[in-house]
Amino acid sequence: MGMTITEKILAAHAGKKEAHAGELVECKVDFCMGNDVTAPIAVKRLRENGIKEVFDKERVAMVPSHFVPAKDINSAQQVQEVKDFSKEYGIKYFFEVGQGGIEHALLPENGLVLPGDIVIGADSHTCTYGALGVFSTGVGSTDLAYTMATGETWLKTPESMKFIFNGKLPKWVSSKDIILQVIGDVTVDGALYRAMEFAGDTIESLSLEARMTICNMAIEAGGKSGIIAPDAKTEDYVKSKAKRPYKFYASDPDATYCLVKEYDATKMEPVVAWPFQPDNIHTVSESSKISIDQVIIGSCTNGRIEDLRIAAGILKGRKVDKNLKVIIFPATQRIWTQALKEGLIEIFDAAGCIISPATCGPCLGGHMGILASKESAITTTNRNFVGRIGHPESKAYLASPAVAAASALTGRITHPAEVMPE
């Protein structure tokens, strides 16, 4: 019986010829990670159980990302716990501020997560690495401690859903719109416990960064994982970065899916997720009367260099609306440096934006741009639940970098075509 790419990866890591949806398997894990908020609990679990070493010092990453640079004493203490643990346990990949960034941009950038891997991370957006043909999924801190100790995890082999996009995306429609549309169609628990596979010539035309945006938000549909089969583009992306061997898997033609949905990409438009759920999807046209107080461009969803280039392309030589705060978040130090080299930082600065160091910052209501009770923000991040970015009465609208940048010029949710006539 044919297997999906996900079933194949799980079978291989469980030492089995086959795995099929519903089967409980215990799998070897290739890489695992935690951040400054989730790792301290994992560290505590190891210490309180007398576990004194990790399964492999080079297969664990500790990434201070959420509340860094340390936003208050408690946050600094949490980072210190993670740093002390990393030193004591000999963790090779501890990414101090200035050398790191947001984990879901950082790990692929450093060749630490590779095609054919199983990766688990104590962060829900660990599903991002599926863009490289990885089975990767978010877990809690105790699960991370278990994997750090044993090098394994237990998984229920998921059913898979297949989302096929064919055709050329219209101008201003991006991979962010693809995933927002899918989430809107299946709703916030439509993919619960399932692997979401994305395929079709539209997906194949996307860069690896654009693919990461899609897989990053699989969790917002309740998905266990998101995955895009690796191809020549994946090879180009990983070959110079990879720290170890990797393997390409692909779904069999007769693999079984619990849902197959096809889309004509040529008919898509830019969309926005309105408060207070990521599945509350509306077109940008429907959103055009909504005024905003803040724009956030960045995050593990859309903070990579290609995202910043798109935003800079719209803001170049212009000024953001003077009633707005516009905050740019390159997702890693390396991306920040590259944005500087390419003149993007200068464009953002001249336009009246502020540019943050790499951090999760306001995405989860941490720091660096929290919203007050009457404020609304348009943001390239991934969640907009009540209180996500600040006061429980504040509102967050999720969108692509192009829509966020266009909105920064007008002070209301704006279609990029309106400010960028052909």
């Binding site: 409980l24 908020v37 989730t38 301290p40 609990i41 505590k44 679990r45 159980n49 007398g50 576990i51 959420h66 509340f67 936003k71 208050d72 408690n74 946050s75 949490q78 104590a122 962060d123 829900s124 660990t126 978010g138 877990v139 809690g140 801190s141 105790t142 699960d143 401690a145 278990y146 100790a149 044993t150 394994e152 237990w154 229920k156 916030v188 628990d189 619960l192 416990y193 309740g222 266990k224 759920q277 989860l364 209501g365 941490g366 969640r383 639940f385 009540v386 209180g387 996500r388 429980p392």
Partner: protein, 170 residues
């Protein structure tokens, strides 16, 4: 294996898609101290929850309870607030795993959720998954855990399972 004592508590019922941002907002996550997290449990959904509930009380919800973030802070806040059990139509995946891993009792029972109201008093037998509504007299049976999870729970949780694998004393 010891029998788990029966639980009795009052229900606090909420709707669908109760997410981790409202269960424990990130502004409180610069610490993992359970007492501090518990003090803010459910704050952005029901600010009166923590001041009104009593230890042993029960949270009930619709579908997809615990959706959103992987933060283990969410079940920690709920457990240390004194909630004895969460009953929902369905649970979000990472939240479900977290509860099993850190010992917060959870039960999936759409029939119970359809029938029971906030304020009802329930008796829960976790050994059998039986939920009895004292207020209406009706009884419900929750979905049993898959055998692997029952084994995990019986082994004393995920970290004990890890220690067994590593050949350590449990």
């Amino acid at each position: 294996m010891t029998t788990i004592p029966k639980l009795t508590g009052k229900v606090f019922k909420y709707g669908d898609d109760v997410n981790t941002d409202v269960i424990i907002p990130a502004r409180y996550m610069n610490t993992h101290d359970p007492k501090h997290l518990a003090a803010h449990c459910m704050e952005d959904l029901d600010k009166d929850f923590i001041t009104t509930m009593k230890p042993g009380d029960i949270i009930m919800a619709g579908k997809n309870f615990g959706c959103g973030s992987s933060r283990e802070h969410a079940p920690i806040a709920i457990k240390y607030a004194g909630v004895s059990c969460v009953i929902a139509k369905t649970f979000a995946r990472i939240f479900y795993r977290n509860c099993i891993n850190m010992g917060l009792p959870i039960l999936e029972c759409p029939e119970a959720v359809a029938d029971i109201k906030s304020g009802d008093v329930l008796d829960i037998d976790l050994n059998t998954g039986t939920i009895t509504n004292q207020t209406s007299g009706k009884t419900f049976k929750a979905q049993p855990f898959p055998p692997f999870m029952t084994n995990l729970i019986n082994a004393g949780g995920l970290m004990n399972y890890a220690k067994k694998k590593l050949g350590m004393a449990v």
